[in-house]
């Protein structure tokens, strides 16, 4: 059953069609990859789903409910969490408070402070940040800031997690750890929709991949199909 569906989703910036008539669907429990060259409209599509931008045309539905044009905080409370391409933690707040905020505000019915205090340490443990509760987020290195952002997203108890280049800028060890983390998130029953440039990661984790180019969807299929698709190879390597 599909958890996220988009129909004819379109967004223009001035005269430029950043996303143009894109149809997509993500099934429950899947890990779906979104790839494409720079400027293809991947992040814009995420912004449209998460409510940061409102589509000009088309409709997006989550769990069968229309979420087109809803405010980000509403979409978050409905169960869609995200991370950002350039990490956006709350720099002067300690690690713990960054995540507590997600627990306190991200759920449809607000959680009590006591419950949040009980849950957050578990989340920090899950992403491997237990030892850094009191550290201001800005003092963490990039890989840990990304983990922090991820745990803040998980604190909102999402059904669907949008990961925007989780692995960009990480070294090979950190990429391997991040891949393992994504797999563990999927095993918890959370559906993952991820933008990624690290091909090794996307090919091995994803059940299905969508390819965008110039705002249009040019291919869709299993990693195997995408890796051998003529159109995709042409877009990435030239004819």
């Amino acid at each position: 059953m599909s958890i996220l569906e988009g129909e004819g989703v379109t967004k223009h910036f001035g005269g430029l069609a950043a996303v143009s008539h894109v149809d997509f669907c993500v099934d429950e429990g899947e890990v779906v990859g979104l790839i494409g060259p720079n400027g293809a409209g991947k992040t814009t599509l995420f912004n449209l789903i998460s409510g940061a931008l409102v589509p000009k045309e088309g409709a997006i539905s989550f769990n069968g409910r229309d979420i087109t044009g809803l405010k980000p905080h509403k979409i978050c409370k409905m169960g869609v969490a995200r991370t950002f391409q350039s990490v956006r933690v709350f720099p002067h707040m300690p690690v713990l408070e960054n995540v507590v905020l997600g627990s306190l505000f991200g759920l449809p019915d607000s959680m009590s402070a006591a419950d949040a205090a009980a849950e957050v340490p578990r989340l920090l443990e899950f992403v491997g940040l237990s030892g850094m509760r009191g550290t201001p987020a800005q003092d963490l290195e990039l890989a840990n800031q990304k983990r922090l952002e991820l745990s803040r997203a998980l604190a909102t108890r999402p059904q669907l997690l949008l990961l925007d280049e989780l692995m960009a800028g990480l070294n090979p060890t950190e990429v391997a750890e991040a891949m393992e983390l994504v797999t563990r998130i999927r095993d918890q029953g959370i559906t993952v929709f991820m933008i990624e440039h690290v091909m090794k990661a996307i090919m091995s984790i994803c059940d299905r991949i969508l390819v965008l180019n110039h705002g249009e969807k040019i291919a869709e299929g299993t990693p195997q199909e995408i890796a051998t698709s003529r159109t995709v190879i042409e877009v990435y390597l030239g004819e």
């Binding site: 405010k71 980000p72 905080h73 978050c76 720099p91 002067h92 905020l101 306190l104 991200g106 759920l107």
Partner: protein, 316 residues
């Protein structure tokens, strides 16, 4: 810090606060009239500064609207003062500012950074000139007179507003909404995507902070006994709270209190002792604070404490 120590510290602060309030309540009995006026003037500036800090410090939205909310309170008092009992007038002054802030906030809090500051400052001028136009056109006079009440009454009303404000500020700060306001200041988009209804929270907090500015204006008007739009909507009332907050340091609640107290006391001393040079001396003092104390007076005290505790460790 372990929980027992935190509880102890909280208890200490509560006791200390209670003692300070009781001492302040005793001022009109123990001290001469001049001191009573001086103290309630200081209390008024603390009110303006702390209520400014409630909204602007965590969110980073620098509001220059305090003079507008203060002036609305002044006018509420001037218009209604003769018809209604004093406590009702004060509450209505706060309510009028609350409504204005709600409206203005809903319209303008989508502006960020300097645009928001400029708009809020423009608001002061807009209201001032609208009131002036109305008064000249319909009442035919520029100003209004108020019926004076005793200094002690003004004093106790001011103290009551301040205590309510401090309790409110403290509760907001330690609630989940305090955390959310801070997250807005840190990264508004990330806060929205973490489930915080940023617009609603900003507008409500902005309006709550305006209540106290309006109430302070309503009682201040009675002290002035004559008001006109230039007095009520004096732009200095927008800048002073910002300066006092920076002067004291905005990191903790005691910063703005300390800043407003020291700032207004020093100003009073300078005006009486050096009437010709007081502006010059104030300017030098402000420059020195901004250049050398980026975290305000509280930052300085914390530095001293840190140094003292480090010194102790070295000794033992």
């Amino acid at each position: 810090m372990n929980p027992a120590r935190v509880d102890l510290r909280k208890a200490w602060i509560a006791v200390l606060g209670l003692v300070v309030v009781l001492l302040l309540a005793a001022v009109p009995y123990a001290l001469p009239g001049y001191t009573v006026v001086l103290v309630y003037t200081i209390l008024m500036y603390i009110i303006l500064t702390v209520s400014w800090v409630i909204f602007s410090a965590p969110t980073g939205y620098i509001s220059l609207a305090p003079a507008a909310f203060f002036g609305v309170g002044v006018y509420a008092s001037a218009v209604l003062g003769m018809k209604l009992p004093l406590p009702v007038v004060i509450c209505l002054g706060g309510l009028a500012s609350f409504c204005l802030a709600l409206l203005v906030g809903a319209l303008t809090l989508r502006l960020t950074g300097i645009y928001f500051s400029i708009f809020t400052f423009g608001l002061v001028e807009l209201i001032k000139h609208s009131v002036l136009w109305y008064e000249l056109k319909f009442t035919g006079t520029r100003g209004r007179f108020l019926i004076p009440v005793g200094n002690n009454t003004i004093y106790y009303v001011m103290l009551a507003i301040l205590v309510t404000l401090l309790v409110t500020a403290y509760l907001i700060r330690r609630s989940r909404y305090g955390l959310a306001l801070q997250s807005i200041g840190e990264d508004e988009e990330a806060a929205a995507h973490t489930g915080v209804n940023v617009t609603l929270l900003k507008v409500i907090t902005f309006a709550v902070s305006a209540v106290f500015m309006g109430a302070a204006g309503a009682i201040w008007a009675i002290r002035l006994t004559y008001i006109d739009p230039y007095i009520a909507f004096d732009p200095l009332n927008s800048f002073t709270p910002v300066l006092m907050a920076i002067f004291g340091g905005t990191g903790q609640l005691c910063g703005p209190i300390l800043g407003a107290t020291v700032f207004s006391y020093v100003r009073e001393i300078l005006i009486t002792k050096f009437p010709y040079y007081y502006m010059l001396l104030m300017g030098i003092m402000l420059l020195a604070v901004i250049l050398y104390l980026p975290n305000g007076l509280v930052g300085l005290i914390q530095q001293w404490q840190k140094r003292a505790s480090e010194g102790q460790h070295v000794d033992t």
